[in-house]
């Protein structure tokens, strides 16, 4: 029998121009008593699909059957009643409270004002721990436990509620290799006694190691489904990445760059990442998200002692304000969180990060209105920022135009080094090519460019050199143009190159 059967599941967010289809007609069949891997790149729609299965989102259309019965979950409570449990990527555990209290929450089984059945719960937890060989101290406080142990508590929480279907969202993201091994053997044991497990991941190595079946999502659609016994990393990578080379600028990436002086040099970041970006080259950092990109980018601006050289200057001990005075452009990873003042006009946002640039602010600290006007004109004409409305708050712009605003502003530094993180994420198709061209123009005019992206196509199309980041290390390096998506995809997934 199938534990879960999903047919034609569709979900879209937003409306009008900003409408994004997260899931389009997705079918998933998950037989009872199996481990099913759901894989895909970031934004492929894995989490959306599982949130619908767990009752956190309601589908626009399509049907979900659990153990053969059609269900319509209004909340996670409904899903839990049907025997579904989920371990979220960010654990749902409160640090200062004990393991027992965290497990008992919502499953107290006594009146709201009566005594918590702690002794009984402890006995039951102990027997679960013994049965699945997942020992844990019921009286330990969560914040004192290592992450792997916290995850164990999350799984025990589901077992305590006797969930038959367990969804795990990126369970290995935070674990050490040893902890991953332990997790996998526990999952197998749970499967063997008849429970169904869905594991969301983008690490192909793990898919092959743990799952019985695998479904691949790409851009909200089901790209493939097979028994893992027949799967290879190549096949899965191909499904994940697809063959969507729509990038007309791809040919422009050529060898022969990268002969200039070093513009960025880092040593021993994360777990030993060292590389250089030279004038006139684009260095692409490929990798599945969560492998250290965020920390890497952060330490370029806030080194706090880590070894970073920018434009030949040792900035390892410099504050961000000092680094910001150098001719360096930063496109932040999350422009809404880190890059824009959403309630302010384009003009104010052009000033952000330029507030110590003498072009914009005189030595008395007075903002040069004329310079800001000129920058806005440039943003309109050279950077094609639309609509041309002076007073509009930045949240009014489309994703692409918000990114253009960031780019226009960062180019006001006349950068000799460009650090761009996910430059086309959430950007409309029309603007993607434009942004790519800007990066290449910068390279061609002699800047060094660091491109961090989880879009493999983007990395391939633009980079003169490609480094693959996995688990805080550089695991492979390729020359641009000499490598294909599958090879990189495999390196990203941890397969030996």
């Amino acid at each position: 029998m199938n534990a879960v059967e999903i047919r034609g599941l569709t979900k879209a967010f937003g409306s009008g121009d900003s409408r994004v289809v997260a899931n389009a007609n997705v079918d998933l069949v998950i037989p009872a008593g199996t481990i099913h891997a759901l894989v895909g790149e970031n934004g492929a729609g894995k989490s959306t699909a599982m949130k619908m299965l767990f009752g956190m989102l309601e589908p626009d259309s399509g049907e979900i059957r659990v153990n053969g019965d059609r269900v319509r979950f209004k909340s996670p409570m409904d899903a839990m009643r049907s025997g579904i449990g989920m371990v979220h990527q960010h654990f749902m555990l409160a640090g200062p409270y004990t393991v027992l209290e965290n497990i008992l929450l919502g499953a107290e089984s006594t009146g709201p004002f009566s005594r918590l059945p702690l002794a009984e719960a402890e006995k039951r937890l102990k027997s679960l721990c013994d049965r699945y060989s997942m020992p844990v101290d019921p009286h330990a406080r969560i914040e004192d436990l290592p992450v792997g142990m916290q995850q164990r508590v999350e799984i025990l929480k589901l077992l305590y509620r006797d969930s038959k279907i367990l969804i795990l969202d990126e369970p290995t993201a935070v674990l050490t290799p040893q902890e991953i091994d332990a997790l996998f053997s526990n999952l197998r044991r749970l499967r063997d006694e008849g429970r169904t497990i869905v594991i969301i991941t983008h690490k192909l190595k793990e898919v092959l190691a743990i799952s019985d079946r695998v479904s691949v999502l790409r851009q909200g659609r089901l790209a493939g489904y097979m028994e893992t016994a027949h799967a290879t990393a190549e096949k899965l990578a191909e499904w994940m990445v697809g063959r969507k080379v729509i990038l007309s600028v791809a040919a422009a990436a050529t060898a022969g760059h990268g002969r200039g002086e070093p513009r960025l040099k880092v040593q021993n970041l994360l777990r030993g990442v060292s590389f250089e970006v030279r004038a006139g080259e684009i260095v692409g950092i490929a990798g599945v998200e969560g492998n250290g990109q965020t920390e890497l980018l952060r330490s370029l601006l806030l080194p706090e002692g880590r070894s970073v050289e920018i434009l030949g200057k040792d900035v390892s001990k410099s504050p961000a304000s000092r680094i910001r005075e150098l001719p360096v452009a930063f496109f932040p990873e999350d422009r809404l969180r880190d890059g824009l003042l959403m309630d302010e006009s384009a003009e104010r946002n052009l000033l952000l990060g330029n507030q110590r640039n003498p072009k914009f602010v005189d030595r008395w600290g007075v903002i040069r209105k004329g310079a800001l006007d000129a920058a806005l004109e440039r943003a309109w004409h050279e950077f094609d920022l639309r609509p041309k409305r002076r007073q509009m708050a930045s949240r009014g712009y489309s994703g692409g135009n918000q990114q253009k605003l960031v780019i226009a502003r960062e180019f006001e530094h006349d950068p000799k080094l460009v650090v761009s993180a996910h430059p086309t994420r959430g950007v409309d198709v029309g603007a993607i090519e434009w942004i790519h061209r800007k990066l290449m123009d910068a390279r061609d005019s002699g800047a060094g460019v660091l491109l961090v992206s989880s879009e493999l196509d983007e990395i391939l199309a633009l980079s003169d050199r490609i480094l693959v980041l996995l688990d805080g290390r550089i695991v492979a390096e390729y020359a641009g143009g000499s490598v294909d998506a599958l090879t990189i995809g495999r390196a990203m997934g941890g397969a030996r190159a």
Binding site: Y97, G106, A107, T110, P112, F113, S114
Partner: protein, 284 residues
């Protein structure tokens, strides 16, 4: 010896309204809602108790009236801060103003006097012995509830990790609404102890910062019931000593300042960390 007992007695007396208010604040804040409106709640409760006792001739009815007034005020605050996600500091400040303005307004309407309500005869007053017993009972009850019951667990998670509570199938908003309303009732009863227990009427400026003092005690007690009780007793003792040693070596005003200065030091993390509930004041 009798001097010592006298001092202890007076500190207990002084502390009892603080204890109610601090426990009320504890219920709100442990559930994740900042409660700077304790002052206003004590004002409203003090007045309502005086009115209730005058109308019925019963201290118990006065206490009930205070609780009811607290529920009404708490409900308004909960709607504003939990449901409509107003800034809790702004809303709390507003509630304080409202109480400070509304009470003299009603007092004038009812008694033609904005200063004090008519005086209660002794037998209609709340015996302060009872007030102390009740206060200690409430501390024990709150401490037990927070630590040992499902509701307490929900309140703690609402204040610490509301998403976890939600994923366990319980609405953090509902928990917060109810905690705020219940806590407000307790705080208002603190005002009642002040007006019909320690005094014989509600008079203007009677509360005089005691709501903030209760909030201070709550923080000094690191958001825990028994330590907060200890803080209230300490503050009561400090005030009791002042009354006794008006012309001592240490100036009275500087003694008054001590609890707040100590709390500031605790708050800054110089003496152990005063760890607020993680989600306190957050709107998510």
């Amino acid at each position: 010896m009798s001097d010592l007992i006298g001092i202890l007695e007076s500190s207990l007396r002084i502390a009892s309204p603080l204890i109610f208010a601090a426990m009320g604040g504890l219920l709100c804040e442990r559930s994740g809602v900042i409660q700077i409106g304790l002052e206003g709640l004590m004002i409203v409760g003090g007045f309502a108790a005086a009115v209730g006792a005058l109308q019925t001739g019963s201290a118990a009815a006065g206490l009930a009236a205070a609780a009811l007034a607290g529920v009404v005020f708490g409900y308004v605050y909960a709607e504003l801060s939990v449901r409509f996600r107003a800034n809790q500091i702004v809303a709390g400040t507003g509630m304080n103003f409202l109480a400070m303005g509304l009470v003299p307004f009603l007092s004038k309407v009812l008694y033609e006097n904005t200063g004090t309500t008519p005086s209660l005869p002794l037998e209609q007053r709340l015996s302060w012995h009872w007030a102390v017993v009740l206060a200690l009972g409430i501390v024990a009850g709150v401490a037990w509830m927070i630590r040992s019951t499902p509701v307490g667990l929900w309140i703690r998670f609402a204040g610490e990790h509301p998403a976890a509570l939600e994923s366990a199938g319980i609405s953090p908003r509902r928990v917060r609404m109810r905690s705020v309303i219940a806590g407000s009732a307790l705080a208002a009863m603190g005002g009642a102890v002040l007006s019909i227990g320690l005094a014989s009427a509600y008079s203007r400026n009677m509360v005089a910062g005691r709501g903030f003092m209760a909030l201070t005690a709550l923080i000094f007690g690191k958001w825990r019931a028994w330590p907060a009780l200890g803080a209230c007793l300490l503050f009561g003792l400090a005030e009791g000593l002042q009354v006794r040693f008006q012309s001592g070596a240490i100036p009275v005003q500087l003694m008054q300042v001590l609890p707040y200065a100590l709390t500031l030091v605790v708050l800054a993390g110089f003496v152990g960390r005063a760890r607020a509930p993680q989600a306190l004041g957050r709107q998510d």
